[in-house]
Amino acid sequence: MSVRMDGRQKRITDAGLTLWFGLAILFLFAPLAISMIYSFNLGVVGKQTSNFTGWTLEWYPAAWNDLALRRSVQTSLYVAFWAALIALGMGASLGYALVRHPSPSVRKWLSGLTYILLIVPEVVIGVSLLLFYAVTGIPLGAATLIAGITPAAIAVTALIVRARALTLDPKLEEAAADLGSTRLKTLWFIVLPQLLPAILAGGLMSYAFCFDNLVVAAFLTTPTVNTLPVYLYGSLQYGPAPSVYAAATVVFLFTVTLLGLAALCFQLSRRSGRAGVGGG
């Protein structure tokens, strides 16, 4: 500790920082809270209003009974699931190659590619994909949308896996090889278990990310493939119903529960992993 520490000045700075943090949390949570509160808003003739006109529970069953809304949630779940699965596989593979590919120039190219995936604005990707599918004559559908939203998710997963792969001890893999394990076996029994939490975390991030994708999906949507964000975006023209807020609230609670469970699993697996290492 420094002797010169000016106690009073420090207290003022600390109080200021704490206040700033509190305000930031308030700022970040205000719209979330509003979206939840307004899912109970009566509204005016079935439309959401900025004035709170009274409490009602009717929008939750209304959201459930709204066929178009329900189908868009189903489409979103389906699209996000497959896109996350692809991003999980591709991202894990790319993340590991970023660290372990024997050629430095390949590693450099791969990391350049990974960062480019993150810095091309979504609207540019969206229009490019629309153009690409139109010119090559690939009909738009769920598959084209799934493929189109994977690149950024792959990059995020790859970076998470890369961070974990950097901490892997190469000696462990060499030891396995020395003991007669094939490369495939080493990857499966030595590398994969160590990377698994990172891979799953990347997959979950991708899932949340793809579920909420609006911009790319807006360009690749078709009358039959309409995700929830695209459906909501379309409904803005006529003024959205509060049932939209109800659906969003349910989806959010579902996502947070899922993530909470995943964090719990992650924590447990890490603890048991550590115990295993300590015991062996």
């Binding site: 719209p31 692809i86 091309v120 153009l131």
Partner: protein, 296 residues
Amino acid sequence: MISASQHSQPISKRAPPARVSDQLFAAIPTAWLAIFFLAPLAFTVVYSFGNSLFGAVELGFTLKNYQTALSGFYLSTFLRTVQFAITASALCLAVAFPVAYFIARKAGRFRTLALVLILIPYFSSFLVRVMSWQILLARGGVFEGVLNFLHLHDGPLDLLDTKTAVFIGMVYAYLPIAIVPLFVVLDRMPPALLEASRDLGASRFQTFWAVTLPMARPGIATAVLLTAVPMLGEMVIPKLLGGSRGVLMGQAISSQYLQSQNYALGSAMAVLVLIAVAVVVAALARLTKGFAEVAA
């Protein structure tokens, strides 16, 4: 079982299969991304030089689209977008830095909780949150009420469909993304370094200015990159909070594709956005010169 004398051999013997798997790990994602990312971008670049017919493009080489995209309404939209992205990104950084500093240095055992809190809103629908800002910023809404209560403003406040509303929305949407890299870099900074600075006679402010801030440069660069770049293409926030007056590049490009069906002009505008992104990246690379292992 393998004897000790073979110890040096297995690695060289197994080198070929190892290389195959290593190549596959690199090749499979590259192939996927080449098809669904690089090829579409290449199409956009090629089409930006083509002649536009309604709903179709005749391939060729003309700079006409770029001429159009860099004149009149389109030029002012482009410049406004760049200006918005830079300003909003700077605002975002200014709000994020103290938050990241607090979490890294002051939050103590609550830091994980603090980080989780920052990230939670991120998992709810982005669109619905922006729609909620419409409610918050509406005339007679919560925001106006709070300002009136604090005597920072008097009477009704028309924020919706203004620049200010777009800035609030942009800072809001990208704040968590800015906080995380700043937190990482502040967290890694060795406390001994700061103590040394203090012991050598620097004031708190001097330490912050001469040690903390320069050391945080990679985090600052990453935060700017992750906020300014998507802001250059942002199309939802300006549309919902900015109304019809302040059209930005994202909407302008989108309407060339979806309404005007002028793919060539839309492509040229998309390429301009990519060039702006490249300039941002190059500037940030200069800012972080001397740091190894930096994003971008």
